[in-house]
Symmetry: C2
Subunit: 371 residues, 2 copies
């Protein structure tokens, strides 16, 4: 089997071949395609509304933003799923829109409506005024949370930091919230591509600064969520999303404090562009559930690790069906390292928590035969 | 250049090599990959809310269903876009949910909420009672509309009939309406696949009967809209959508009244399965805008024609940008026959009608160099 980046890594590995001082280094090793005894698993949005304890903390915090902007609360909810399930990673609890909020767009959540901005980018003068925020001042609450979570984790599992992609951030910044058709940003894309490129250039620099600040604060891997890149045409995806993901990958720390910092890029609906995403310098590509993992692996060879890709709706069946579907995903990937198990999208708020336990246990048990 | 099905067709072509008695046979010829002087174009949902005359007729009809269920109104709105734009095809004005409505589920439209069913399939006994409706009795209004539209078209351009795919119909029948996550149908898919297969088997037989009745009434090509197949995992798509599309293709008339009836299958978000869709016996595959047409053509070779795939949001820019984007799509496909120009999804209700004129003219003008 492929041994991944073993030789390149040997200089920074501890004598016992473990990475960092982590008690459980399976996530980092799998992202670097190094051997692991089983397939590591974490769940996108694992600290979320499907957990009663999350809802209790959110209630105490008063609101989603009250939760996300308070390092104590953010630490508390980040750790909640790890107390319940044998997950192999923690992911910072935050929102992908903290960066445009720090740019002054005024993030808020209307009840039951998802994120919105008070001051979306609706004219050229607003766009020309946009600037890269300094994370140390405007996003200090995130960096404090990272430090606090790292202390609380005590090297049990790695902490993943994250950001929205430049294009995905631009979608919200220009639409002013979610959208069915992305009419506003796409009108700009086709009629005034120069303006959109200006926004994306600033976003890319802001994302780099933000991810690097998270790494410097203690994030041990980073993930970029390109939630809306898959809404673009092939040509537009390459020009307006992939190119800026490439810049982010070029600017983000690859190593910090003597440790390699693996990076994951996830374009939802990006299965057609897998080879292209794998070529921008990330260590792993996230895949949604529409992609056959085996076909994906044949397409990218040993270039990157793959993360995914169980349909989140599988968690609405039953433990036996969950086990069958987990096995199908593991079998598609096949033998060897380089797979991080995850859902193909964020977990639904309606998921029964006991089915997440069934998922995590199934991954750990069933994956040993592939390693 | 590839000559498509020329030899197989020669027996049913008129002496002057035109198909049927059509004054404009470019759509049928392109679907059969026969030479045409330019690339034919039509627009998904071309008879729709972006046209003021459509809204006026709908107002007279009282409601969307009042419009769709009245052959006079359906004929009127089907012809409206043809009066405005030099389109190369008409498509029957109807709704994809007429079939489950005929099964007794009770289709209705809540204001601003999209289609819903009064009696969705929520338990096993409802599913066991489901039966294939006889189009002649329960869908007579559609067949009357087809006959009336054919008379009104007077062989100017061909009339396309259509249906929702078995899986897409099942989504609405089981969810009871639209859905963000298809939680209800996917719960059934993973926990009780036998029940879903029962629904899909009935749906496939109903779709075959419905499309054949449309062909017998005068539809000159048929299209199956698999709007939600792309929400499935790779394995689930093959088992629960593609397999039933295959059955539909096997059961639908390939010829009627001495004429070949070309078929188009469109799975939105189905770019990853292009080769598989091209192998189920359809004449053409519809593509959404995420797919590069050139890459798609290289993948399927001369197996089928391709239909698509401009991003509908391009129509929110301006005539010059529309022209540039039309040219990019034509250039991707390249020289030769086998391309039907269309949007990659239904036209937005907010589209300026004059931009549709710009689109149609651009396709006709710019495509001649590729033929």
């Amino acid at each position: 089997m492929v041994r991944g980046d073993e030789s390149a890594l040997s200089s920074i590995l501890n004598p016992d071949n473990s990475i960092l001082m982590l008690k459980n280094d399976t996530l980092i090793r799998a992202l670097l395609r190094l051997p692991t005894p089983y397939t590591p698993v974490w769940v996108m949005r694992q600290a979320g509304r499907y957990l009663p304890e999350y809802n209790a903390t959110r209630k105490r915090a008063g609101s989603f933003l009250g939760l996300a902007k308070n390092p104590d609360f953010a630490t508390e909810v980040t750790l909640q799923p790890l107390a319940r399930f044998k997950l192999d990673a923690a992911i910072l609890f935050s929102d992908i829109l903290t960066v445009p909020d720090a740019m002054g767009l005024g993030l808020y959540f209307a009840e039951g409506e998802g994120p919105k901005f008070e001051r979306p980018l609706r004219d050229e003068s607003a766009i020309r005024k946009l600037a890269v925020p300094d994370p140390a001042t405007s996003l200090g609450y995130v960096l404090d949370a990272v430090k606090q979570i790292r202390r609380a984790l005590d090297n049990s599992v790695p902490l993943i930091g994250f950001s929205g992609s430049p294009y995905t951030l631009a979608c919200y910044m220009i639409e002013g919230g979610g959208s069915d058709d992305f009419r506003t940003i796409k009108s700009m894309l086709y009629a005034r591509p120069d303006l959109l490129h200006h926004v994306l250039d600033i976003n890319a620099r802001a994302v780099i600064a933000y991810l690097n600040a998270q790494i410097e604060a203690g994030a041990q891997a980073v993930m970029v969520f390109d939630t809306w890149g898959g809404s673009l045409s092939d040509a537009a995806y390459r020009e307006f999303s992939l190119e800026y993901l490439r810049r982010v990958m070029a600017g983000v720390h690859r190593e910090w404090d003597g440790q390699i910092i693996p990076s994951i890029v996830f374009t939802k609906g990006g299965g057609l562009w897998l080879e292209d995403i794998a070529a921008i310098g990330c260590n792993a590509v996230g895949l949604d559930w529409t992609v056959n993992l085996g076909a994906a692996r044949r397409r990218i060879g040993d270039k990157v690790a793959l993360q995914g890709n169980l349909d989140p709706m599988v968690l609405f069946s039953n433990p036996a069906a969950i086990s069958t579907q987990v096995d199908a995903v593991l079998r598609q990937f096949g033998k060897g390292s380089g797979h991080v198990f995850n859902l193909g999208h964020g977990i639904s708020q309606f998921t029964p928590p006991e089915h997440v336990a069934a998922l995590v246990d199934a991954v750990h048990e069933l994956s040993r035969q592939y390693h």
